[in-house]
């Protein structure tokens, strides 16, 4: 746990500075006010700075990211493929990127291997850290490419649904992929989306929206 002390014009400013420095939202910080500070008379005479002590309540993502990188590297060490792992933090998500020879071995059919890596790294990390940390494992920009192709698929299906006025169903998809479909069609006023099915067989159904309906009932996960 890291503790820092920050001085600024007001308590508010100091808190904002602390959030920025630790890259954490305010709810995850424990804030102790050491001195409230005052602006003095007309902000000139006797101005005193506010001072706060801030302790992060959560394990810093940075440490978790480092640990996640170690776990992934350890797994990849057993796969006969030269690879390097680098990490970054994107809105509280740990993003691990594998740099390898680009053979697609680490991606697998429809990202099966990549998803398995992601699943296991996140599971092991959660056990070690004691809380759930969202982890994304990527290689060769696969996640972005997947998002693009799924968005395109969503648009094609939506087009068909609009023309035929009949609902259409995608193939079985994991939650990440379904989310991309839902988001892609969120702004589309002529169709609505809903997830159906159980477990691995869960899929997205795209329904046409009847014109008479006033407010389309959107259902996203």
């Amino acid at each position: 746990m890291s503790t820092i002390e920050i001085e600024d014009k007001s308590v508010e400013d100091a808190v904002a500075a602390a959030c920025k420095q630790l890259q954490l939202p305010r709810e995850q910080l424990e804030i102790e006010i050491l001195s409230k500070g005052s602006s003095g008379i007309f902000g000139i005479v006797g101005a005193k700075k506010a001072k706060i002590r801030v302790t992060s309540k959560v394990l810093p993502v940075e440490a978790a990211a480092q640990q996640a990188k170690e776990i992934l590297s350890e797994i990849l060490r057993h796969i006969n493929l030269p690879s390097v792992v680098e990490y970054e933090i994107e809105n509280q998500h740990v993003v691990l990127n594998i740099i390898s020879n680009g053979s697609g071995l680490l991606i697998g059919k429809r990202g099966k291997t990549l998803n398995a890596l992601q699943f296991l790294v996140s599971k092991i990390l959660s056990k070690e850290v004691g809380e759930t940390v969202p982890v994304i494992v990527d290689t060769e920009n696969y996640r972005i490419k997947r998002q693009e192709s799924l968005t395109e698929l969503a648009q094609q299906l939506s087009e068909k649904v609009r023309k035929s006025h009949r609902p259409l169903t995608t193939g079985p998809m994991n939650s990440q992929d379904r989310r991309i479909i839902h988001l892609a069609l969120q702004e589309d006023q002529e169709v609505r989306t809903k997830s159906k099915g159980e477990g691995n067989l869960r899929r997205v159904v795209i329904y046409p929206v009847r014109r008479s309906k006033k407010a389309p009932n959107r259902n996203t996960e």
Binding site: I75, H78, I79, L81, L105, L120, K123, K127
Partner: protein, 76 residues
């Protein structure tokens, strides 16, 4: 391949000392037989087999990087 499974299972199990893993190499196919503590079975298999299937996927990837096939069985 054996070490990969060992590492994965050990880091997820509550009783890492009670793991036994037997490797049988028949030329182009490697068969791995895993035994774990009774209390860990559910954890290693996961909901709808999600965890064991993820481990299998990685073992298969590791095996194909050695131009081999692999099978992983849980013997409990």
């Amino acid at each position: 391949m054996k070490e990969l499974v060992e590492y994965l299972v050990k880091s997820m199990a509550d009783h890492p000392d009670e793991i036994s893993l037997h490797e049988q190499d028949t030329g182009d196919t490697v068969v791995l037989q895993l035994k774990i503590a009774e209390g860990d079975v559910g954890k290693i298999i996961g909901k709808n087999g999600s965890t064991i299937n993820a481990i299998r996927t990685l073992v298969q990837a590791a095996a194909s990087s050695h131009k081999k096939r692999a099978k992983l069985e849980v013997l409990n």
